[in-house]
């Protein structure tokens, strides 16, 4: 990054910190200097100046230190009932200072090209993390500083507090939706898709009939089948598992058929010349060659399965489950609980996806895309 722009940005951040001492924090609030926290903001401003003076790779670390100090200052100030909800110039100057400095540090960090591999990896993780943290910080400060009613949008801290205080409910919902509905349906759907694909691969006529149909069905809005499944299998988890199984079946079928046909002619001829039986060539050649495709389907299905289970719960559940909780709490305007459930769903989805990715790394390490 251009050091002049970096220096300018950091100097502006320091200037904004200075403004906080001049402008009022909120109409009628006491002066900033009477808050004991002002020393932290002053320290942050000094760090911004120091970073601006250096204006090179090192200034990212120093700048982030200053950002932490100013951000902490603004969060502590928000505890003051005089400021929360009616913050004005001085307070927003601190927020702008920390946002500007954070942006400068992230941009500076992102333009680094470290030579050592582990450092490059660290930067690659640090940049999106800082970006995300900044977004969450701005969300928090904006909601509490402007006094946005919690019905519209709760602050992340409120959602986190709700998450922590209602762990038993969340655990129950997680078990109901994820462990029972998603995992069982996912196993059934993916397993059935794979088995049908193997059959279709064995009998070519069936394969040529099933592939276009599978393509057609996997493009349909299959979650719409949810009310019918609720009618057939009742309110409890079997109906959710059925929806998930149906939604995951077709992507697996299509991908597995494509994967089983991915083995090269030379390898097939080799199996033939070894007089391998169909079972032998299936386990030793076709299935391993299909693994990347199968894992692709497993990854697509990981997201589809969660969506299917949650949508199925909109049509009726026992009094438990992520989708049930989201729709009832949204009706009761308890939006912080809804966000806690969404965080739960997000965590479950990412963990599920991550697990599938790890399994893929462990089993398809030989594939060209991993041998870099």
């Amino acid at each position: 990054m251009d050091p002049r722009k970096l220096r300018l940005g950091l100097l502006l951040a320091a200037f904004a910190t200075l403004l906080a001492f001049v402008l009022p924090l909120a109409p009628g609030a006491s002066r900033f200097l009477s808050h004991p926290i002002w020393e932290a903001a002053a320290g942050g401003g000094v760090l911004f100046l120091l970073a601006a003076w250096m204006a090179d790779a090192r200034s990212s670390a120093i700048g982030i230190g200053g950002v932490l100090l100013t951000a902490a200052t603004s969060l502590v100030l928000l505890r003051d009932p005089e400021i929360a909800g009616s913050a004005s110039g001085g307070f927003w100057a601190i927020v702008i200072a920390s946002w500007l400095a954070a942006a400068m540090c992230v941009i500076n960090l992102a333009s680094l090209r470290p030579i050592r591999v582990e450092r490059r990896r660290m930067v690659n993780i640090l940049v999106p993390l800082l970006f995300g943290a900044t977004v969450f910080y701005l969300w928090e400060v904006a909601v509490r500083g402007f006094g946005v009613p919690p019905v519209l949008l709760p602050s992340p801290s409120a959602a986190a507090a709700r998450f922590a205080s209602s762990l038993p409910i969340l655990t129950g919902d997680f078990v109901q939706t994820f462990v029972r509905g998603v995992l069982i349906g996912y196993a059934i759907g993916c397993g059935a898709g794979l088995l049908v694909a193997i059959t279709a691969h064995r009998f070519e006529f069936l394969g040529r009939g099933l592939l276009p149909l599978g393509n057609f069905f996997s493009a349909l809005p299959l979650v719409g089948i949810a009310p019918i499944m609720v009618m057939w299998f009742g309110f409890d988890w079997p109906s959710k598992a059925a929806v998930v199984a149906l939604v995951t079946f077709f992507p697996m079928l299509v991908n597995a058929i494509a994967g089983l046909n991915a083995a090269g002619h030379i390898e097939r001829d080799l199996m033939r010349s070894y007089a391998a039986s169909h079972t032998q060539s299936l386990t030793k050649l076709y299935l391993p060659a299909a693994l990347p495709f199968i894992f692709n389907a497993l990854k697509i299905n990981a997201t589809l399965a969660l969506i299917g289970a949650i949508v199925a719960e909109f049509f009726g559940t026992p009094t438990q489950g992520i989708g049930f909780r989201i729709s009832t709490e949204a009706g009761r305007m308890a939006i912080d609980m809804v966000w806690a459930e969404i965080a739960l769903a997000a965590l479950a989805g990412m963990a599920f996806y991550g697990f599938v990715t790890l399994a893929e790394r462990a089993t398809t390490f030989w594939h060209p895309s991993y041998r870099t």
Binding site: V106, P221, I307, A330, M333, M350
Partner: protein, 307 residues
């Protein structure tokens, strides 16, 4: 001229089975027919006890063929027979004036308008985001990981909140549904377009540099044409997702019109046949939309000189 062309024209006894049209469509037709047959058998099996109980409750004498006939046109069957669904569907489409509240055309139009508006919003937003990511290293490294992460989050779970929040802001009707559709469908477009815009290989980029092309010229003359196939591939995925988003967005709001509302009311009142007809309408809508995108894709590819 090869020696084989002097040979007598081959008249194999199975010439019809080798005809390209037959070879292509025979498996599909067979599979579809088999599925319909399985469906009928399942309809008989699943509705059997329902119909028999009805006969026994009325204490009328009945034969097996009576029950069999009853399973084919039960009023609230567990699994309606295909011809029942077809007749309800055609009745819903052609039996009423297109704007009557009982007409499937009307409900499809409501969902279609939300889908299309959401699709356009999502496509514009997705492409703009991809352009920004491709041209800014900072955004690529800070924003892209979050976009990929959010792909693993069941975004559809957010639909009810969006409806509540937007309703509190005074937005009702078409726009909240379209926003959910747009929110759902911009991800595949962004990912596909980033892949497409970065697909020109370094050699081509260096050639543009030797001609001292600026960023905008590289974009319009190299990156954008290279990204068009990727764009259409992701548009086909996105339009289905957009339709799903519009349907699901109609669920928590209790909307009066739309395919999702049809599904919801069908499930509340146990109107199975109506439910299935709404599903068929969704399927027709989805395949029609994909077909249109595929047609545009083919036309654009031909204009751009593809064979």
């Amino acid at each position: 001229m090869t020696s084989s062309s002097f040979a007598l024209p081959l008249r194999a006894p199975r010439a019809l089975a080798r005809h390209p049209l037959v070879e292509r469509y025979a498996p599909i037709v067979t599979t579809v027919l088999a599925l319909i047959a399985i469906w009928y058998i399942a309809a008989v099996a699943m509705n059997w006890s329902l119909v028999r109980d009805a006969f026994e409750r009325e204490e009328t004498p009945y034969t097996i063929s009576d029950v069999l006939a009853g399973t084919m046109d039960a009023e609230r069957p567990l699994l309606p027979a295909p011809h029942q669904i077809a007749s309800t569907f055609f009745d819903g489409v052609f039996g009423y004036p297109p704007l009557a509240p009982r007409s499937l055309v009307y409900h499809s139009l409501v969902t279609l308008s939300a889908t299309l508006l959401g699709f356009v919003l999502g496509a514009v937003f997705g492409i703009a985001l991809a352009l920004m990511i491709v041209h800014s290293r900072v955004l690529e490294r800070s924003l892209l990981p979050w976009i990929i992460c959010s792909q693993m989050v069941p975004i559809l779970a957010l639909a009810p909140i969006f409806i509540v929040v937007l309703g509190a802001l005074g937005l009702q009707g078409l726009l909240p549904k379209s926003i959910i559709s747009a929110y759902l469908c911009f991800f595949p477009i962004t990912i596909g377009m980033v892949k497409g815009l970065t697909s020109p290989d370094p050699l081509q980029l260096e050639l543009m540099h030797t001609w001292s092309a600026d960023t905008r010229q590289i974009l319009w003359k190299l990156r954008w044409p290279a990204a068009v196939p990727y764009l259409f591939a992701s548009l086909k995925v996105a339009i289905t997702i957009s339709l799903i988003g519009a349907i699901v967005a109609e669920l928590p709001t209790g909307a009066e019109a739309g395919i999702g509302a049809r599904l919801l009311s069908g499930s509340y009142y146990g109107q199975t046949v109506q439910l299935w007809a709404a599903l068929v309408a969704a399927a027709v809508l989805s395949s029609g939309l994909i077909g249109i995108v595929a047609l545009v894709d083919r036309g654009v590819a031909r204009r751009m000189g593809a064979h």
